[in-house]
Amino acid sequence: MNESSSGSLYAAREPIFPKRVSGTFRRLKWWILGITLAIYYITPWIRWDRGPSLPDQAVLVDLAHRRFYFFWIQIWPHEFYFVAGLLIMAGIGLFIFTSALGRVWCGYACPQTVWTDLFILVERWIEGDRNARVRLWNAPWSARKARLRLTKWLVWLMIAVATGGAWIFYFADAPTLLRDFLTFQAPVVAYSTVAVLTVTTFIFGGFMREQICIYMCPWPRIQAAMMDPDTLTVAYRDWRGEPRGKGMRRRAVAAETYAGGETGGRRSPVIPVPGLAQAAAAPVPARETPGDCIDCNACVNVCPMGIDIRDGQQMACITCALCIDACDEVMVKIGKPRGLIDYLALSDEPRERAGEPPRPIRQHVFRFRTLLYTAIWAVFGLGLLWALFVRPEIDVTVSPIRNPQFVTLSDGAVRNAYDIRLRNKHGDERPFRIVLPEGSGLALTLEGASGNEVIVPADMTALHRVYVTAPAGSAPASADASPVSFRITEPVSGESVEVGSVFNGKGSE
């Protein structure tokens, strides 16, 4: 980042004052900021009618009752594989986006980026754009500076409280919790969660900003490892921009710079131009004219990470593309083509240096690797959708009791026991009827019930022990193990499911 000359092993953070910029990518980022924040703040307040005994909140993580509600979908703890599946999809989705577009997550959708963007927006409203903020930073403390700082911090704090506050509404009925929260009736964990999220939002968005990305976040390291030469990333066409220079003196400066070789670094091991120093005095041939970069520092001034994209690809770059907007604006003004800073892949460099035209974006995005990731991602997605829509509304598991495998009754009959779990996902209580197929010769009885019907309360799992008895001398009684199946019917909806299990006889002794 900043080249140190102090010799210390530790350095204070260099303040960054990103300048306002407008353009395609800035507009896109405003839209993403608005939509993602709206989703985050509004979602818990959407209502969804599920019947009298179930919550009417569209999205609710009910930890106390082990339920997750998402509009028409209801997930119980034993269906946690849905969450695992979504996590797998999120992982593969990261592969897709990273291999195609590099750190696009960091630049556009990461909460750290979105909230920092919002905080910078507030900062700009209150303290003015870059130059005003730099002046204010350098100015001694005065009433005006204190007023601006306090106003800014207060607005930040309000955003931070709202951020932490919105989080808790995903875990309880939002209107009730808000009322309890304001009247100090809410659980302690609600207040502590809001407090922690408020403090982290305030500090991370207001003061840590790029430090989080550079020093705390593992993504930059992971994502760098997932990129390949065809991955799009934000880059500077130094073969077009160099040698850079300002205004009337561009030529001379360029020539001096080259002759002196003082800057060094990654800065353009561009086209070697022998005898450039001498050329400074002489009329410059076409090939040695200065590049398109006028060294206006617009790209550096807008960068929220405080880096110079012209130094090449670097870990601190979150590819937010604001430097593209800034540079395009300048290129238009000086009558040069856009795209001195652009979305480029590493493999574009030799090609463009050789004089070929830039390749269209789609050739970078749609290639074997990304399509393969997309296919894998889609397989998981379709699998989850399939699992979601074919799962029966009545959910039953039958587990044979293995200790002991069977019981001999006084008349010599052999009895097996089964634990049957009946899950009623409906908003009202439902009867469940358990029967064995006709002609099996087996008798079924329920522990603690006279018939073969049980009532399961609304939104509950009921556990019932069921006995199956084979008469003395019958085939299942003397065999080792024979198949048995239970038909479980829910008469109200007419839904029915058959669950197979095993009957152990004396042959297993």
Binding site: E3, Y10, Y215, N403, V407, T408, L409, E447
Partner: protein, 288 residues
Amino acid sequence: MDDKETRDPVTGVDTTGHEWDGIKELNNPMPRWWLWTLYGTIVWGIGYAIAYPAWPLVQGATSGLLGYSTRGEVAAEIAAVDARNAEVSATLAAADLATLPVDDPAYQFGVSGGAAVFRANCSQCHGAGAAGGVGYPNLLDDSWLWGGTLDDIEYTVRHGIRNEIDADARFSQMPAFGEMLSKPEIAEIAEHVLALSGQEHDAAKAEAGATLFADNCASCHGEAGTGDREQGAPDLTDAIWLYSGTREAVTETITNARFGVMPAWGPRLSDAEIKAVTLYVHQLGGGE
């Protein structure tokens, strides 16, 4: 160190001055807040070591100013659970089990709690699945030596069987017929017992054994051999055998008798625990 700091020409970054075989160590300085975070964790660590158990001593460790211990935390949690269950536990202890409805919270509490009581106290003999073993009754089947109603089970649990702790323990003693009858006579009775339960037997010997059975055994096991719960005398006609129903085992039982003992749990378990384990055993499949 006298290493001279220099600037690395390739990266434009300062070096620390350290150099090994031409490889220079660059100095990309860490942020200062990071250093302060490290100091912060050290301060926290010192505070933690003072407040919580930390430093090992010859015996044990320093206890910490807050007096915290994981053992104490467990004890507090158990106490909290007991306090939460105190009301339903008292209800259960005072309840008449025979009339307690199955959907009563006290019943549900009893069955769940009884399962825990059973695992801790009863499973050593009766097995974790309550299926018993040779000499230890199976509690799942429909045969009961001393009765299978809630009241019967509760009495058995509370007072035990043939023990010397409780004067009210269930008691009976089968004589060892080896001292009274000859071996052929015992063999004849054994054949009769096998016949009673419908097993393969010698018809002639069983016929002779019938008279001996009526004279020696029927007073407890009944004329028909169906047993007597008042005396804990097993039903000899069914398919269930506490000490196995083979010829050898039956002969052994008649010759030397059996004397199964169960401890009295009244002095060891609370009323609520006894009632809980009674409910649990009763709902295992054999309760009457």
